[in-house]
């Protein structure tokens, strides 16, 4: 039921959805069409300002900025999807298990705290040192670093569901743990997980940008917003546009997923509307 309170707060959800759709569209369209070849290097048109043909201008290699941003959106989404996927697939079952068991649960949460001490960026740099820097190592590192968030949220949701009367009824009827987890716990905490997924997606996008900026993420020539920023740094004084364009793209994606997560949370629990 949509109350007046939630309807009043819906802007978050609407703006978030629009921004996310914008990024997804840019990525999807880039598969079939970009204004120019995003990778074509042409020294004769390097560092051109915005014009009718090159809406956002060209970079120091003469590559079209619009095309690069569009193809870069793919990298961003790709990283987010894999990282959040890894985190959700590992974190959710662990969290539910932790919520349904006593000693094992305690143990899982302790390990969880330990993993939490390895932030995504640090883990990705370590992975990069061992396996070589690439989009894949960055994604997996970000994913593993995000597991604890999912495990925590899944556990707290599970604890709540386990104290309800319908779970008591299911247990009285002799249902086993796995069945309760799948039939009762998972559907009831899926909302929480989707919200967490959206927020984690934003963090993953930020981490990938930072890693590519440091040279531990996406390798050239694959376009990535973080690497576009890094390449822009030496020319900042003369061409701030080179940094602004990918910077705005990153901000749009992160803002979109954050707002989407917030909006969904408000929808699920109107009492919390506007809180965090």
């Amino acid at each position: 039921m949509v109350t007046t309170e939630t309807r009043r707060r819906t802007p978050t959800l609407v703006v978030g959805t629009i921004l996310v759709v914008l990024v997804v569209l840019a990525a999807l369209v880039s598969f079939i069409w970009t204004p120019h070849d995003a990778l074509r290097v042409d020294a004769s048109i390097r560092l051109m300002g915005p014009s009718g043909d090159y809406l956002l201008g060209t970079d120091k290699f003469g590559r079209d900025m619009v095309s690069q941003i569009m193809v870069g959106a793919r990298t961003t989404l790709y990283v987010g999807i894999v990282a959040v996927g890894v985190a959700a697939l590992i974190g959710t079952p662990l969290g539910i298990l932790a919520g349904m068991t006593r000693w094992l649960g305690e143990f899982i949460m302790r390990v969880n705290d330990l993993v939490l001490a390895f932030p995504a960026l640090l883990l990705a740099i370590m992975f990069g040192a061992v396996f070589g820097a690439s989009t894949l190592t960055a994604m997996i590192a970000i994913g593993i670093a995000t597991v604890p968030s999912f495990a925590r949220i899944a556990r707290s949701g599970t604890l709540q569901v386990m104290s309800t009367e319908y779970v008591l009824a299911a247990r009285a009827a002799g249902r086993r743990g796995l069945r309760i987890a799948v039939r009762h716990v998972l559907p009831n905490i899926s909302g929480l997980l989707i919200v967490q997924g959206s927020v984690s997606f934003a963090i993953a996008v930020l981490s990938e940008a930072a890693l590519s900026f440091l040279g531990f993420g996406t390798r050239p020539p694959t376009p990535s917003w973080g690497r576009m920023l890094q390449e822009s740094q030496e020319l900042l004084a003369v061409q701030p546009r080179l940094a602004l364009v990918p910077g705005v793209a990153i901000a749009i994606a992160v803002l979109g997923f954050n707002l989407l997560g917030d909006g969904l949370r408000d929808r699920l629990d109107p009492k919390l509307a506007g809180r965090r």
Binding site: L116, L122, G128, L244, I250, V254, L255, L259, R276
Partner: protein, 314 residues
């Protein structure tokens, strides 16, 4: 309560031990031989064997680990495989730079978050409050290194007010030290401040609905007075927790910001060591960062028990 502290301390010690083993093993399974890296491809097998012996990497892993840890607790992180210098002293130097940056970033974050967060909470039904909430959302979406790049562009390149990077030690020239720290600390702190603003807002919003605040108003205090005298202290409890946890984020954020501003901190040391494949140094830095994160969590946990008496019973 004593039992709780004892239990938490035990968990902390075990976590540090497990984390150090994890860091050690992670580096040990690394493909590539540090001796080979140090000597180059033309090294003779005899020389390689000798260097391996010198590095101590021809011994069993457990001996290597115990030896490393025995050194680490006394501040001896071993000698770099590449430069052959002692790692410990350099680590301390670099950590100093990073801590200045993190500390200053924290101050900037607080200066931003407390007034704006409280304001947004008090005005949460008005346009001005919503505007601040919106701005904080935008701030969260901007990576610290991007904020840094933009700040350099404005304050260093265009207006030439502040240096675009570099480091002056505080005991050498304090004025230059402060000037050099402003931009890096701001790029780290403004973004973190945006995150913190949302927590301050939510915490203040919670206390605004409390009975004691209504009582204070009933006694004749104006809304601002009531909030300052009774509300903020109560709102501080959750904010302190978040602040503690954000320390870890700041520490990692510093890695990137140091790169933007060419600061000789722990982050740039980490990146340089990775690039040089200086594994023992990488191992030492990662250990310091991870133990710092665990320590912060531990301290926040204990503080929580001290601040909030309700938690002591559990």
């Amino acid at each position: 309560m004593a039992l709780r502290i004892l239990r938490r301390t035990a968990i902390f010690v075990v976590s540090v031990a497990v984390a150090s083993i994890a860091v050690f093993l992670f580096m040990a399974v690394l493909p590539g031989d540090p001796a080979q890296v140090a000597l180059g491809v033309n090294a003779t097998p005899e020389l390689l064997a000798q260097t391996r012996h010198e590095f101590g990497i021809d011994r069993p892993l457990t001996t290597q680990y115990l030896d490393w840890m025995r050194g680490v607790v006394t501040g001896d992180f071993g000698r770099s495989y590449v430069t052959r210098d002692l790692i410990g002293p350099q680590l301390v130097d670099r950590l100093g730079v990073t801590l200045w940056l993190v500390g200053a970033g924290m101050v900037v974050a607080l200066i931003v978050a407390i007034p704006f967060g409280s304001f947004a909470a008090v005005r949460h039904r008005k346009a001005s409050g919503t505007l601040i909430s919106g701005l904080s959302q935008l701030g969260v979406a901007i990576p610290a290194f991007l904020a840094g790049i933009l700040l350099v562009q404005l304050f260093a390149v265009q207006w030439k007010l502040l240096p675009s990077g570099g480091w002056t030690p505080p005991n050498q020239n304090f004025g230059e030290f402060v000037r050099g720290l402003i931009l890096p600390a701001s790029s780290l702190g403004l973004v973190q401040g945006a995150v913190l603003t949302r927590y301050v807002r939510s915490a203040v919003l919670d206390t605004l609905n409390e009975d004691y605040l209504r009582t204070a108003r009933a006694k004749g205090l104006r809304p601002g007075q009531a909030l300052r005298r009774h509300g903020l202290r109560n709102a501080a409890v959750p904010v302190v927790t978040v602040l503690g946890l954000q320390l870890t984020t700041l520490l990692i954020g510093a890695v990137v910001v140091e790169r933007v501003f060419v600061l000789p901190g722990l982050g740039s040391m980490l990146l340089d060591s990775v690039a040089a494949r200086d594994l023992l140094t990488v191992q030492g830095i990662v250990l310091v960062l991870v133990v710092a994160a665990l320590l912060v969590n531990f301290v926040v946990d204990l503080l929580y028990t001290v601040i909030d008496p309700r938690l002591r019973r559990s």
